[in-house]
Symmetry: C2
Subunit: 289 residues, 2 copies
C-alpha cells in the first residue's frame, strides 16, 4: 500500500502543472491542494482493480491521478466558506485559508478540467472507445447525478432528520460515486475482465463506498482533530444527519462490518489477484484516521 | 443565426437534467444559469465551423451544448462574491443571488462535468480517437492553462498596469481559449477538413477570440447596463486593466476592426461555405450588446 501511495504521489507530482509555469500562483495552489497528504484511497482502489485486470502500472498512474484530482477539487470546494467553511484539511490550512477564496475556487475548477485532460491525453486503453467510456464514467460520477449532486443533497439535509434510506442515497452519491468510478477506471485500463467480473467489482466498490462514509461518520464522533487532520464533530455541530445520528455508534459500526463482509463476498470468485482489493476493504473499514 | 440560436436553446433544454430529477434544486439552478439568455456566440461558432466541415447538425447540437455548459459554468463562478461579485447577468439576478452561494458553486462544478459527459456520451465522430481529442481540446481550453488560468491572471491584474502584450496574454486564455475550442470541436464533428484547413480555422478563431474581448471592453465603457444585461463600468471601477485602459477607445476600436479583417482573411481559401463564419466575425465585432 505504501509503495502504491508513493508511486501515486510521484505521478501527481509529475502530472500536475509545475509552479514555474504561468499562472504560477494558481499552479502553486493546485499543487498545495493535491500533494503531500491524504490516504489516497481512490488511487489505491484504481491500482488494485487495475492489477486484477492485468493493467500496465503506467496507465494506472494516470487513471489514479485523474480520480484523485476530482477528489481533491471536491475537498477544496467543500471547504469554502459558502459550503462547510473548514480551515483544516489533511493537517494543513485549507486552500482558501492558505491562498484566498478566489484562488481556491479556480483551483477546484482547474483540477476538474485536469482530470479529464489526463484521461484524454494519455493512452489508457488499446481501444479509444473504452477510453471515452472512462471519460463518461468519471463525468457521470462527478456531476449533478453523482458527487456534486450528493453534496447538494448533503447541504439540503442540514437540520433535517433523514431516514437511513435517505442517508444512504446521499452518500451513494457524495462519496460512493467517485469510489465506484475509481474501481471502474482502474479495471478498464486493461481488457482482462469479463462484463460479469466488472459487475462484481462494481458491487464491491458500492459496498466499500458506503462503508467508507459510515466509518467517516464513526471517526468524526470517536476520533480527535489531531489524529484525523481535519476538524472533528463538525457534522454534529452543523446538525447534519449521519449514520451515527441515524443508527447510533454500535449499529453504525455493525453496518460497516456488514458492508466489509459483503465487499469480500463480491470478490470471492475473482481469484487470488483480488487480495489487494480485499485488503483495501479492511483498510477502509478498520482505519483509525 | 436566430435559427441556430433557437436550435441550441432546444438542445440545451433537452440535454440539461430535468428539474424534476433529484437533486431538484441543483438541477433547477443549472437550468436557470444556462437557459433563456446569452448570445450563444460559442454554439454559433461551433455550428458554423461544423457546417463548413459538413457535420451532422445533431452532432453539432451536442458539441455546441458542451462548450456552452463550460461558458455558463465560468459565468456562474465568476459572478460569485469571492470573484467579481456581480448581481446581474443576462438581464437576470446572478445564480448565487437567485439561489445561494453554495448552490451556485455546485451549479458551476456540475456544468463542467456535464460538458465532458455530453462529449463522451454521444457519437460525435466516426472515430472515437477524434472524440477523445475533443475531450482533450475542451479540457485544455477550460483548465489552468486555458480559461481558468486566464481568470486567475485577470484577478491578479487588479490595480496593475499591464502592457498590451500582457492584456493580450490574459484574454487569449480567459476568453480566447474556449472560443478556439468551440470552433475546433465543431470542425471535428465531421472529417471534411484537412489539417491545413483546420489550422486556418484556428487562426480565425484566435482573431475573433481576441476581438470579442476588445469589443467587450469597448461596450463596458460605451454601453448601458440595460442594453448589456450586466453591470457596466465594473472593470474601470475595479481598477482592472482593459484594452480601453491600455489603448484608449479609438485605438481599441481600430484593433477590433483589424482583428475582424484578419479573421476574414483566414477564411479566404475555405470557400463559400465559410460565409457563416465571416458573418459571425462581423456579428462579434459590430454587435452593440
Amino acid at each position: 500500500m505504501a509503495r502504491v501511495q508513493a508511486r501515486v504521489e510521484a505521478a501527481l507530482e509529475r502530472l500536475l502543472p509545475s509552479a514555474a509555469i504561468a499562472p504560477r500562483r494558481l499552479h502553486e495552489a493546485m499543487r498545495y491542494a493535491v500533494l503531500g497528504g491524504g490516504k489516497r484511497a481512490r488511487p489505491l482502489l484504481a491500482f488494485a482493480a487495475g492489477e486484477l485486470a492485468g493493467a500496465d502500472p503506467a496507465r494506472l498512474d494516470v487513471a489514479a491521478c485523474a480520480v484523485e484530482c476530482i477528489h481533491a477539487y471536491s475537498l477544496v470546494h467543500d471547504d469554502l466558506p459558502c459550503m462547510d467553511d473548514d480551515v483544516l484539511r489533511r493537517g494543513k490550512p485549507t486552500c482558501h485559508v492558505e491562498f484566498d477564496e478566489a484562488t481556491a475556487l479556480l483551483v477546484g475548477d482547474s483540477l476538474q478540467s485536469l482530470a479529464f485532460q489526463l484521461i484524454a491525453d494519455h493512452r489508457l486503453s488499446e481501444d479509444p472507445a473504452v477510453q471515452l467510456e472512462m471519460v463518461k464514467i468519471l463525468a457521470a460520477a462527478s456531476g449533478s447525478r453523482g458527487m456534486a449532486g450528493g453534496q447538494a443533497t448533503d447541504l439540503a439535509s442540514v437540520g433535517q432528520t433523514l431516514t437511513l434510506q435517505e442517508i444512504e442515497y446521499m452518500h451513494i452519491h457524495k462519496t460512493g460515486a467517485l469510489i465506484r468510478a475509481s474501481v471502474a477506471l482502474g479495471a478498464r485500463c486493461a481488457h482482462g475482465l469479463a462484463p460479469e467480473q466488472l459487475a462484481r467489482l462494481d458491487h464491491y466498490a458500492k459496498c466499500i463506498g458506503l462503508a467508507f462514509q459510515v466509518v467517516d461518520d464513526v471517526l468524526d464522533q470517536e476520533s480527535s482533530t489531531a489524529t484525523l487532520g481535519k476538524t472533528v464533530g463538525k457534522d454534529a455541530a452543523d446538525n447534519k444527519p449521519t449514520y451515527v445520528s441515524a443508527l447510533g455508534l454500535v449499529r453504525a459500526k455493525a453496518l460497516a462490518e456488514e458492508l466489509r463482509e459483503d465487499a469480500h463476498a463480491a470478490l470471492a470468485t475473482l481469484g487470488g489477484a483480488a487480495h489487494r482489493l480485499a485488503d483495501l476493504a479492511d483498510f477502509i473499514v478498520l482505519r483509525k484516521f
